[in-house]
């Protein structure tokens, strides 16, 4: 199946939409128009000739033969010229962070610092080796851009660990122009680590993870570049092959700038550099010890635009706080931001799970899951599912007795649950099949597609940190497949909380009945939704039983608005997923979890 990209919708536009697209059509150069004219003239002459010959043929019987071939010139020549030296330094979001990395010895620093106020080569050397002058950087900066009636102001916080190569940017942007409807304030947090870019929108409570692995990404994420290089693959500052120019690169051509003195900016002594042409004026201020650009004022004389970039606070190395990857993950998960992925269907027509696509494991896996402040939707303001270690406990446990751990202790049906990519399997389980364990030690695993795998399960103990933990090893034929640590009615596979088995049916466990599930959900709905609308018309709101699977009951709530909320109650432990039905697309969107045992007594 061919995936349609969003902007493909604009194809075959007509009338108003077409006019709007025409308005934004790129200008066509005179050179290109000349080519069109030349081709059109040639075709026109052919048509005219054909027409004349047809007329003559009709009148006099001339035979026409031969076809003139038209050579196709290229539509648009690639732009091969080097990028203009006109630059708008402040617009590079991460300039501060990225223009500095690396660390060299202090004696060399001293030598550089001694020369940079007078020696252009020394200054170039300092800036081109800026990466070598610190390990960590924490800075606050402002960027303002004004042009005609457009005004954009960014307030940014930048944290950069040049050694570990992670970058944090917190950016609030204020956008004003003559049309008040276009005024806007945005707030995004960016985090770049390894080859991943994570964007968090605190205003809209979502986050997105993107992989930077091709030219498109490279081009579009260059806002955090210096010299057009992605931060995870930094290259020397003054790479002469670089197409894109940043402010500091303007130093490359020594004839175009001069050192005008020094200035102190946020407590740092800076080298002041100035350059001027008929088109622009640029004043840059570089930290004399690190080469970091701390201030830049750019004025476009002709277009009357101005960009001012200024660092308002900066700390280096041990004084600098840089948010580590796992801390960033914690921030996302504790805030309960929801994963967002641009498309819902992949190229093969399969549904895409945003949680999987936005897997945060690249930031590190916590030993214990961070507290999840369940999505910030009102519907989930009550008790949420907890981690595997504290999952609501069924009434009957099957802990090993008398130091023995036998296969009988685990006989029964188990649901195989995996992480959604963001949360642990305990917090937000994703169904991954069923495992039946029989008294003879045989087991069968039925995956989500119905495929069956069989093998043998063996019980035993594993000593960890002086404690003997009951463990079940699963073998496929004679080959070890995986092991799971047993406690209560749960078997944790591995210790990352990403996979687990949860007992479904056991002769001695208490299974929640459908009526209990219904009553508990009914209680929950009456506690959390406004039922006053149903006073006049009772039928407008209700709770009803839905489908039943091996492991779950479906209970459905109808709101007075006509929207539906589906509750999927896990029979074994009462954990319940809450899915809201989108009234437009009818797609179910997960909005949180509860444990219905908390509502049974209401």
């Amino acid at each position: 199946m061919k995936k349609e990209k969003l902007f493909d919708i604009l194809e075959k536009a007509e009338d108003d939409s077409m006019e709007r697209l025409i308005d934004k059509c790129p200008e066509i150069s005179d050179e290109e128009l000349d080519k069109i004219l030349e081709m059109s003239e040639r075709k026109f002459n052919m048509k005219k000739k054909d027409m004349n010959e047809n007329v003559q043929r009709e009148n006099g019987g001339i035979t026409v033969s031969g076809v003139e071939r038209v050579k196709r010139p290229a539509w648009i020549k690639p732009f091969t010229m080097a990028a203009s030296f006109v630059l708008v330094a402040g617009m590079v979001v991460g300039t501060v962070a990225l223009m500095n990395k690396g660390k060299s010895g202090s004696s060399e620093n001293d030598k550089i610092a001694a020369d940079v106020f007078n020696d252009k080569d020394a200054l170039i050397d300092l800036c081109s080796n800026a990466p070598s002058h610190y390990d960590k950087l924490e800075a606050s900066c402002t960027i303002s851009y004004t042009r005609d009636d457009l005004s954009i102001t960014d307030i940014e916080k930048v944290e950069y660990d040049s050694k570990e190569k992670y970058l944090f940017i917190d950016e609030i942007e204020d956008h004003h122009e003559s049309n008040p409807e276009a005024d806007d304030e945005t707030y995004f947090i960016y985090y770049y680590y390894k080859n991943k870019s994570t964007i968090v929108s605190p205003y809209w409570d979502w986050y997105e993870v993107d992989t930077l692995n091709n030219d498109w990404d490279y081009d579009n994420y260059s806002s955090i570049d210096v010299n057009g290089q992605p931060f995870f693959d930094p290259k020397p500052f003054f790479d002469p092959d670089t197409i894109y120019l940043s402010s500091s690169q303007s130093l490359l051509n020594k004839d175009e700038w001069s050192i005008t003195g020094s200035e102190t900016i946020c407590g740092r002594e800076c080298v002041a550099v100035s350059q001027e042409s008929d088109a622009y004026k640029l004043n840059d201020y570089f930290d004399s010890e690190t080469g970091v650009l701390l201030k830049s004022v750019y004025e476009d004389v002709n277009n009357k635009e101005q960009t001012v970039f200024e660092v308002t606070d900066i700390k280096y190395n041990e004084d600098a706080h840089v948010t580590a990857p796992l801390k960033f993950r914690k921030m996302i998960e504790e805030a309960g931001y929801e994963p967002f992925y641009p498309t819902s269907i992949d190229e093969d027509g399969n549904e895409i799970n945003p949680a999987v696509m936005c897997n945060l494991d690249f930031l590190g896996i916590p030993e214990q899951a961070f507290t999840t402040a369940a999505a910030k939707k009102d519907i989930v303001t009550t008790t949420t599912t907890t981690t595997a270690a504290t999952t609501t406990k069924p009434e009957v446990t099957t802990e090993p007795v008398d130091g023995r751990f036998l296969i009988d202790d685990v006989v029964g049906q188990w649901e195989y649950q995996v992480s959604d990519g963001t949360h642990t399997a305990g917090e937000n389980p994703v169904y991954n099949g069923l495992i039946n364990i029989y008294p003879n030690g045989k087991y069968e695993y039925i995956d989500v597609d119905g495929n069956v795998t069989t093998g043998t399960a063996k019980t035993g103990f594993e000593e960890i940190a002086g404690s003997e933990l009951p463990k079940v090893d699963f073998f496929e034929d004679s080959e070890w497949s995986f092991g799971a640590y047993f406690h209560d009615n749960i078997m944790d596979i591995g210790n990352g909380g990403l996979r687990r088995l949860v007992r479904v049916l056991s002769e001695d466990s208490t299974v929640i009945t459908e009526d209990e599930a219904y009553n508990a959900v009914n209680n929950y709905c009456h506690l959390n939704y406004d039922w006053s609308k149903s006073n006049d018309n009772p039928d407008i709101m209700y709770v009803t039983k839905g489908s039943i699977t091996n492991t779950e009951y479906e209970i459905i709530f109808r709101s007075y608005t006509g929207s539906f909320v589906h509750f999927y109650v896990f029979k074994g432990d009462g954990n319940c997923r809450i899915m809201e039905e989108n009234p437009i697309t009818n797609e179910l969107e997960e909005s949180g979890t509860i444990n219905i045992r908390d509502y049974m007594a209401e």
């Binding site: 969003l6 493909d8 919708i9 604009l10 194809e11 075959k12 536009a13 108003d16 939409s17 709007r20 697209l21 025409i22 934004k24 059509c25 790129p26 200008e27 066509i28 290109e32 080519k35 069109i36 004219l37 081709m39 059109s40 003239e41 075709k43 048509k47 027409m51 196709r72 290229a74 539509w75 648009i76 990028a83 203009s84 006109v86 630059l87 708008v88 617009m91 979001v93 851009y145 457009l150 122009e177 049309n179 409807e181 806007d184 995004f188 997105e208 081009d219 579009n220 994420y221 260059s222 806002s223 894109y244 120019l245 940043s246 277009n303 967002f340 641009p342 498309t343 819902s344 437009i584």
Partner: protein, 188 residues
């Protein structure tokens, strides 16, 4: 530009008239052709189609233009029809080269569904509205980048900004657009 004005120009200089037409309406025709051929045509296909459009317009000027008032609508019609013909020809070529099945051919012959047409028109409108809400220069950057497939340097040149600035704005604008579309129930 009116038909009468063109006729007058033709009397003075045919080539001058052609040049004026291309200068005046080149971008307009390009936008219409690009819209139709964006998915199936190469740059050369688009270029050739644009020149076909102007060749037809020149023919019209040569033989039958004086009755036209504002020739813009005439040019729009010629451009649309020529581009649709080219689209069918290119699509047929592609289908011929691959395994054409009956469904595809049916689509080729009659690819117009009223429901789908209405839905897409509405989606188009919403998308363009949300892009407009970004304000300038972001809206132009987004359209030129993702619809006209221009790179940052080309866009920078057309809106008198640096390519660095264009990339920075583009990255932020697309994030903002995502959020706006998400609110409107669309995904980018």
């Amino acid at each position: 530009m009116t038909g009468k004005e063109l006729s007058e120009m033709m009397k003075d200089s045919v080539s001058g008239c052609h040049r004026a037409l291309v200068r005046e309406y080149g971008r307009y025709v390009y936008a219409i052709v690009f819209n139709k051929l964006r998915a199936c045509g190469t740059k050369e296909d688009i270029e050739e189609c644009v020149s076909d459009v102007f060749a037809d317009i020149f023919m019209k000027c040569e033989y039958d233009i004086s009755s036209e008032n504002d020739i813009k609508s005439l040019i729009s019609t010629i451009a649309s029809r020529t581009a649709i013909d080219r689209f069918r020809s290119l699509s047929a070529r592609v289908n011929h080269m691959t395994d054409t099945d009956e469904d595809d051919m049916g689509e080729l012959v009659s690819d117009f569904s009223v429901d789908e047409h209405v839905d897409r028109s509405e989606l188009r409108r919403v998308l363009l509205d949300k892009i407009d809400e970004l304000g300038e220069p972001d809206s132009t950057i987004i359209i030129q980048k993702f619809y006209y497939n221009r790179n940052s340097k080309e866009i920078a040149r057309s809106i008198s900004m640096t390519d660095v600035a264009v990339r920075a704005r583009c990255s932020r604008a697309i994030s903002k657009l995502r959020a706006k579309l998400l609110e409107a129930g669309m995904a980018i």
